[in-house]
Symmetry: C2
Subunit: 140 residues, 2 copies
């Protein structure tokens, strides 16, 4: 049976996940990429090298992050957070977010770890999804 999840259940899926799929609109086309993310205080944080998704979200801020827990075709849950892309430029906020990301993703490549020491050194983009809505569904 398919069941609509409550807000808390949907957030729990998002918070438990580390790998999600970011959806954005590139010109007139939907675009989806796998990304590592973390949830902190109701916002979603991501670091990324520059590229198509960043360009797309700079043009059109609306984005979503989908995460799921899939056991098999008949037992899975999926949550999606909708919000606005916001690049984190402020140096101290940026360092703080990179620290959180490094804690959650100790495997960050040396280049990315280096960027946590000197955020100016590398062109790593840090952004948040300012979440204004979450939904979820489960098949169980």
């Amino acid at each position: 049976m398919t069941r609509i999840l409550g807000q808390n259940e949907a957030w729990a899926i998002l918070e438990a996940g580390k790998l999600g799929r970011l959806g954005c609109i590139d010109n007139t086309e939907p675009y989806v990429v796998p990304i590592n993310y973390l949830v902190d205080d109701g916002q979603i944080y991501v670091h990324s090298l520059p590229g198509r998704k960043i360009q797309a979200m700079r043009e059109n801020h609306r984005a979503c992050l989908q995460a799921d827990q899939i056991r098999d075709d008949l037992h899975w849950s999926s949550a999606i957070a909708f919000g606005d892309f916001e690049e984190i430029i402020d140096e101290s906020t940026r360092k703080q977010v990179m620290r959180l990301l490094r804690e959650r993703f100790p495997q960050l490549t040396p280049v990315e770890s280096l960027a946590t020491l000197d955020a100016e050194l590398q062109p790593v983009i840090v952004f948040r999804l300012r979440v204004d809505r979450v939904t979820g569904v489960a098949e169980e």
Copy 2:
């Protein structure tokens, strides 16, 4: 190192996968859902119950299907197929596609399996993504 994949490599990822994330545009918002799919002759086929994604794609045909093979943060590949949503209405095509789907997904729920016997019985939607472009990237 991140590497752009060739067409054949990107198709190989899509063909090997069974679970992907479908991206579409719902009104002005990106929307992403996990779905089972199959690739046949350069097209992507999906069955689905009616719902938000179907409504969205009936309004705006542009969609994408993202699939990936992820070992860890430093070893993964992802491919994305872009195309137009096309609902399969024709009864014989629909039955043929449902047969392919049932072969690939023997776990289809009884309701869905039943629909393969009598496609009129249930409101299962069958659609293809008419793929016109694939791209892919690998971290290795």
